[in-house]
């Protein structure tokens, strides 16, 4: 309702014309004001291209369609969980409980699937469980005077402990063959899990850029006081973000259950580093307010190719660790230098 803008008639336009600056066509890429937002989101893409090029030289088969599908399907779980983590990090928070919620969601789903035989019921139960956990964590993080790092660390312990306790530490299996198929095959030879991840990214990116909720998430992260004073329901936004993270972690847990043909409480634990690593590698700021899902997608693919490449090269696991660590650091510092130079100019 722009008509309702006050002062449009009441306030006179300024007498002094604003000084204008002509922008050369060639400089539009460098001009943050003119450059389309998504272009900035792809700042890690050159690094990804370099990585793939290097890997292709070192080993064969990297750029074959089947291997690319492999990388995508292997990354699907981290990718989906990283959507939720991106929203949390955009508010300036962090969710250390992601891995444990992946376990909890997967175990719940697998338990319902094995006892009722219905995949749909299981998926619904898993999603419900994950979202509920996220909502509780988020409500505590938003309403009580605590830092997200500590709350979600506590939640990590409680959720993984409780899931292990309730599942007696066992793997819940077997699940129906059709459910396993979800992570193996799909239209065009690309597994359904990958299609699901793609759709979820499209939806989440749209939600972030095209809805009021997405805007509020960015604003809470950019400056919580400005948001509060401007009428944003800060506590509700924060709580909702953790609930959304719980939702996506649970979906990731269900996809992982399908990929592994069974669920165990501990299965999500090792993924936390990759999830947070992918979000930050993509260039979403840990301080909140800056970032996007496009960035996270590039970060996920980057890590996916790193681990795929190392596995193809047959590297020993300790060498893989060293290289993963070094790559995360170098990629983060390259991006950091880039942002630093932009800030300086």
């Amino acid at each position: 309702m722009p008509e309702s803008v006050r002062g449009e008639g009441a306030v006179k336009a300024p007498s002094a014309a604003p000084p204008t600056r002509s922008i050369k066509p060639a400089s539009w890429l460098r001009d943050t004001a003119r450059r389309p937002g998504w272009l900035g989101d792809l700042s890690m893409l050159p690094a990804l291209v370099v990585l793939i090029a290097v890997l292709s030289v070192l080993t064969e088969g990297v750029l074959t369609p089947s291997n690319i599908i492999n990388v995508c399907s292997q990354s699907a779980v981290v990718a989906i969980a990283a959507i939720g983590a991106t929203f949390v990090i955009l508010t300036g928070g962090i969710d250390l409980s992601t891995g444990s919620v992946i376990g909890a969601g997967g175990v719940t789903a697998a338990w319902v699937i094995t006892s009722t035989g219905s995949v749909l019921a299981g998926a619904a139960a898993g999603i419900l469980a994950g979202t509920a956990i996220g909502l509780v964590v988020g409500t505590v993080a938003a309403k009580l005077p605590v830092v997200p790092f500590a709350v979600t660390l506590a939640a990590l312990y409680v959720v993984s402990g409780a899931t292990t306790l309730l599942s007696h530490g066992k793997t819940i299996a077997p699940v129906p063959a059709g459910f396993i198929e979800f992570s193996i095959d799909g239209p065009g030879g690309v597994p359904y899990s990958v299609w699901l991840a793609v759709v979820l990214y499209a939806v989440a990116q749209t939600v972030l850029t095209r809805t009021a909720w997405g805007r509020r998430v960015l604003h809470v992260g950019a400056n919580v006081e400005v948001a509060r004073i401007s009428g944003v329901h800060v506590a509700r936004t924060k709580a909702s973000v953790y609930a959304v993270a719980g939702l996506f972690s649970a979906i990731a847990g269900i996809v992982l259950t399908s990929g592994l043909a069974g669920a165990s409480a501990s299965m999500g634990g090792p993924l936390l580093l990759n999830i947070v690593g992918a979000v930050v590698l993509g260039g979403t700021s840990l301080f909140g307010g800056r970032g996007s899902l496009l960035r996270t997608a590039v970060g996920v693919l980057f890590l996916g190719f790193v681990s795929n490449g190392m596995s193809l090269l047959g590297l020993a696991s300790f060498d893989q660790q060293i290289i993963t660590g070094a790559v995360i650091f170098i990629a983060a510092s390259v991006d950091g230098i880039g942002r630093w130079s932009r800030r300086r100019s």
Partner: protein, 484 residues
């Protein structure tokens, strides 16, 4: 006895020239004022002199002064350390092994605190001090180096009248002791009171370096802005009959109690008082940011307590005193800061944003406040000048139909040109029927704009003066606890 000699300083940031060939000197025993609008290059000069920035060309020479101390604008103290530790943070190394001797620290700090006339001890934790006291700590810290030259950067920006007076006395004392003082401020009266010479900067260049006696207020303003400013304050029309805001026995449960007043539609109600008298607390309690006691009605409807969203829904807008941290997003496009309050009006069902409607809205808002941001609405808020930032904060509230707009220090730290535009905007808002609650430390501004002036003293409303009776003397008498 020249203490600071600046010769041909130039500095640019990523192609933008901030300071261009500036030269001047400050001698021992004199105060030189550095004046200029925001973005004129004063801070860059200060940072180069203070050694924080390195110039692209030119140099700074301290002559026999040896070193220079800087008193910063935004206090650069450590909230978790004690006063003594803060003052002597640069001089902690009292023994060779790097251990700290608390007793010696405390003694030295006490001496410095006495020198600035502080009425508090060295053991207090800085977090618990008021803004004025922190500024004193800041000065004591600068004095710890026994400097022969000091740069003051807006030392009084966040202080009340008493505290400003105290700071100015300290400056005068330092000057009499033979210290060279470079004084940066927006308060022209301080410039004329303290300085012997005035250096004026505009767009990174030095435009004047003259004895203070040769300049008067309007010439100085003209030098700073580069054009003649319209004199005085805009005309305001008579308030309407309807009461927009009614406050009864308001308290915040801590410093403020028993505050009652009404503001009519179309009225500009000034709230004066010393810093710490509770003006800001009243504003925050009305807006729902602080716990409130008492009764507030907006257009006859009672307001739910402690609920910002309810206040906004009732038509209250609040421009806080801290625009950088509470007003706009420094690291997001200004479009988003502009549309945040009116976001609901550009939303379709399911919270779907209509980007076209949003950009129409923000363009209209920017036009309404005469926002002169050069590069459009996609630049980050942090890249704007203080004046433009304040205009963005004001504009974001105009998307609704504010019944009442509360402004806390709306012109603090912004240049004269932007000030005039904000005054005109307030007058226009009032003419259109909005009630305006204006809080300001600049008495002239309150007296020039407000229909009535409420004066706070020690957490209570000491009295309300209408325009005819609201003179500087009357306000000060009430503000300092005198009788009407």
């Amino acid at each position: 006895m020249t203490a600071i000699t600046v010769t041909g300083l130039s500095k640019s940031f990523g192609g933008v020239v901030a300071v261009d060939g500036v030269s001047f000197t400050v001698r021992g025993g004199e105060v030189v004022a550095l004046a200029g609008e925001n973005g004129a290059g004063k801070s860059t000069i200060k940072n180069i002199i203070g050694g924080i920035l390195r110039p692209d060309s030119g140099h700074v020479d301290f002559g026999d002064a040896g070193n220079v101390a800087t008193v910063h604008q935004e206090t650069s103290l450590f909230p978790d350390l004690t006063v003594a530790e803060n003052i002597l943070i640069g001089h902690l190394r009292s023994s060779r092994v790097g251990t700290v001797r608390p007793a010696a620290l405390r003694r030295t700090a006490s001496v410095l605190l006495r020198r600035v006339g502080a009425g508090f001890g060295p053991d207090a934790v800085v977090r618990e001090l008021s803004a004025g006291r922190r500024q004193l700590v800041e000065i004591a810290k600068a004095l710890a180096t026994e400097p022969r030259a000091i740069v003051f950067d807006e030392p009084t920006a966040s202080l009340n009248l008493d505290e400003r007076e105290m700071i100015m006395r300290i400056v005068e004392q330092l000057r009499d002791d033979g210290v060279a003082v470079l004084y940066i401020t927006h308060y022209l009266e301080e410039i004329f009171r303290l300085s012997r010479r005035i250096v004026v900067m505009r767009d990174g260049r030095l435009v004047a370096d003259r004895p203070a006696g040769e300049l008067d207020r309007s010439t100085l303003e003209a030098l700073m802005v580069g054009r003649e400013l319209a004199q005085g304050y805009p005309e305001t029309t008579k308030p309407r009959q309807e009461i927009a805001l009614s406050v009864r026995d308001l308290g915040d449960g801590a410093r403020v109690e028993g505050v009652s007043f009404d503001v009519a539609e179309g009225e500009i109600f000034g709230l004066a008082g010393l810093m710490g008298s509770g003006r800001t607390e009243v504003a925050r309690a009305i807006f729902g940011l602080a716990g409130k006691i008492g009764r507030i009605e907006v257009a006859g409807q009672p307001l739910r307590r402690g609920d910002v969203r309810a206040s906004i829904a009732a038509g209250i807008a609040f421009v806080t005193e801290d625009r950088r941290n509470e007003g706009l997003f420094l690291e997001r496009p200004i479009r988003e800061s502009l549309s945040i309050v009116g976001l609901g009006s550009v939303c379709r069902p399911l919270g779907w944003l209509d980007h076209a409607a949003e950009s129409r809205l923000t363009k209209d808002l920017a036009t309404a406040v005469a926002l002169t941001a050069r590069s459009g609405q996609e630049v980050d808020g942090g890249s704007l000048s203080g004046g433009n930032q304040q205009k963005v904060v004001l504009a974001k509230w105009l998307s609704g139909q504010p019944r009442l707009i509360i402004l806390d220090e709306p012109t603090r730290g912004i240049d004269v040109g932007a000030k005039a535009e904000i005054y005109r905007l307030l007058a226009d808002l009032a003419r259109a029927g909005t009630a305006v609650l204006l809080i300001s430390s600049e008495m002239e501004e309150v007296l020039g704009l407000a229909h009535r002036v409420g004066v706070m003293h020690d957490g209570r409303l000491a009295g309300i003066l209408d325009r005819r009776r609201a003179t500087q003397e009357a306000v000060i008498r009430l503000a300092t606890g005198g009788i009407r």
